[in-house]
Symmetry: C2
Subunit: 428 residues, 2 copies
């Protein structure tokens, strides 16, 4: 196994432009492979990751030492850490992507027009995707695998914390591709943590990068959205709401709300604000508050919520605008579905919201009126996840409005072209 090393050029711009050209060439080659070839490559990558677990863990141990020395907090260390079971999980994730239906070449639509032309819309890869992410090493494999599945070449830029883990993973993946006679430059990692490299990538590398996918915290995504000269698919934040309607089943409502907030508080699909219908608040909220507090959750309520559960902290307007990513939940009592819709319309980040009710008309109204990427009826917001949606894995959850919305899996990393079959037609 050889780590990908920087080319001899000391010119960072030229290094990156050269990576861009290699990625473009690899993307052309990848798109022409058969679905079976791409599947074979993915299975080889999964096997290689399993086999290289010792090297990957060794590299990760060095990353962990450096991270501890830098004083990273426990949550960051947890995101960075690998063990045998997590490496197996990474390999299984790649295997799951290998078993997904191949999205390339699918006929998305086909029709004949009055001129007699036969028009087909066929899925093709996006091309070259630049992925900028923070500490989780598994993103290296997930992103590389989803790009391979969808015929795209990936240029990865990892966070400095996971640099050695990611370099090792990429070297393993590239080695597996080479051994299968597939283009290793389908997966490249920027071999330096120089911050200027990000700027070059965001510039599009002279037309070699088609899309940028940022995966990380708000400041990263904002920088990418501000500076990118190529289209960006990303999510800014997941300020997810749960609305408990007066017609909710109380037991379900408690179980779902506790899960939506507390299953994992650091994921974008975790609930941040709870809206409770005034019609059910007096009976439900005390029990729900007890369940949340028992699970370790801090509650911050508006005046009406605190009138029912007085030991909540006071929620200020800032709380309605905050993605805590922590065991804290803002609570507001609202006047039925209309109150909930008004609150969500004002504060939602467009990611995921849930309505808990046994009244179908209320659920229908919520589904019709709320304009977020994912709406759930009687289920936890923590299902906002590509894997749970049956996409195998995800490269992120898009909260923008164009191209893809919600979980971005292999299918969302495609575009299409039109194949028009004529019989000598000229246009009058």
């Amino acid at each position: 196994m050889t780590l990908q090393t920087p080319p001899p050029s000391t010119d960072l711009a030229e290094t990156l432009l050269s990576m861009g050209r290699k990625a473009r060439a690899a993307s052309r080659a990848l798109g022409k492979l058969s679905a079976d070839d791409r599947t074979r490559g993915l299975k080889a990558v999964a096997a290689a990751i399993r086999e290289a677990a010792p090297e990957i863990l060794e590299a990760n141990a060095k990353d962990m030492d450096a991270a501890r020395a830098k004083g990273l907090d426990a949550a960051m260390l947890d995101r960075l850490a690998l063990d045998g079971s997590r490496v197996a999980g990474i390999a299984n994730g790649v295997e799951a992507v290998a078993n997904l239906p191949d999205p390339i070449g699918r006929e998305l639509a086909r029709w004949t027009v009055p001129s007699g032309l036969d028009i087909a819309r066929v899925a093709v890869p996006l091309g070259v995707i630049g992925i900028i992410y923070e500490s989780r090493p598994n993103v290296t494999a997930d992103a590389g695998a989803l790009c391979l599945r969808s015929g795209n070449a990936a240029i990865l830029r990892c966070g400095s914390e996971s640099a050695l883990s990611s370099r090792t993973l990429v070297a393993v993946m590239r080695g597996a591709l080479t051994a299968e006679g597939l283009p290793e430059d389908a997966i490249q990692l920027i071999p330096t943590q120089d911050r200027e490299a990000v700027g070059h990538l965001l510039s599009g590398l002279d037309g070699s990068v088609d899309v940028i996918v940022p995966r990380g915290g708000r400041s990263l995504v904002e920088r990418v959205q501000r500076d990118a000269r190529v289209p960006v698919i990303g999510h800014l934040e997941g300020l997810c709401h749960v609305y408990i309607d007066g017609a909710a089943d109380p037991e379900n409502a408690i179980a779902i709300t506790v899960n939506a907030k507390m299953r994992r508080t650091g994921v974008c699909g975790s609930a941040e604000t709870l809206l409770v219908d005034t019609a059910i608040a007096a009976t439900l909220l005390p029990k729900l508050a007890d369940a949340l507090k028992a699970a370790g959750c801090e509650l911050r309520g508006d005046g009406r919520a605190r009138a029912i559960v007085p030991d909540m902290k006071v929620a200020t307007e800032e709380d309605w605008a905050t993605e805590y990513l922590a065991p804290i939940l803002a609570v507001s009592i609202v006047d039925g579905i209309d109150g909930a819709l008004a609150h969500i319309s004002r504060w939602s980040s467009g990611h995921t919201e849930a309505v808990l009710t046994e009244d179908q008309a209320v659920a229908d109204k919520f589904f019709a009126d709320v304009d977020s990427a994912i709406l759930l009826h009687n289920a936890s917001t923590q299902f906002a996840d590509g894997g749970e949606f049956g996409m195998g894995a995800e490269i992120g959850i898009a909260t923008g409005r164009i191209h893809a919305r919600g979980p971005v899996g292999a299918e969302q990393l495609t575009t299409y072209k039109y194949l028009v079959r004529g019989k000598g037609q000229v246009r009058p």
Copy 2:
């Protein structure tokens, strides 16, 4: 009929922010209307345009006087000019959009996952679309109609040449919406030609604009792509190729090539470069050159083309890179399909290319290898048009890779959300 006038505020930024807020409110209202309501609005708009033809022509006559005084060239004047039949054509275009299937609320996909969740992907409007265009007044109506059909609010910015024509058209359209009880702010026109207004629009108006669609020449599109802080759907240029294979039917090849170049030379789907297989060049090119010259086309050839047709001008490398939008055609002799693919891969703008051949294997290879938005087999590149694709009208042809590619009609002006139906599921 009252023209939309600037608000009393002298602050341009505030004027535009206020337009943004009105557009956002209108887009929310529009998206909740039924398909029948949107259809009714479109039919009323078409009828109102027919009825207001005298006022529209009067305004256009003033625009034409000003344009002549400014010394605009004949092609520009032709794009700007309206007459009774063109106004009828504009109304018919709106009527055609009224008769299109409504894209909003369609269930694009639906499946159940192992957790038991029922997941539906449902089409919703993009939201607020900013459209920046140049001289053709018909874009005002086409863009407004396509936005209405797809539940989007439009903020239009027309070129200064068509300012009065466009203002009048917008006033007519808004009046028709108001009369039908629909939100008139679904269609707004920026009421000043101040160039700074474009900058404000490109900034996204404090989150009120979801997408920008530029429709015009290269310098406009480049400025928009450079400065926009919101996603852009646009096309940069249509450098379209026709490849005549050795196995082409000669008669068809001549008819299609003349049509592809000469039917209308100013449209983005007109052919700019002709590639002729060396296997057929000696017999076909003299006849084809005669037919093109008879139609008024200037030819510029490479050495091999000029060896066959000596009176062509010399084509330089710049010719392969030029979208003439004029009766000029660059001609290169290539070595079969591989030579054609190499040329197209190097010079194509990703818009539209045609292959003329009776050999299905060659057509298949062309379709598989060329990565442009529209590929045609044995048909003219001038079919690259939303109307010809059965989309009723188009707001442009996208050559980017994300969201929409090729003709952008009502369906392409949508995004989607996920409706997830559960029965109390929590995530383990």
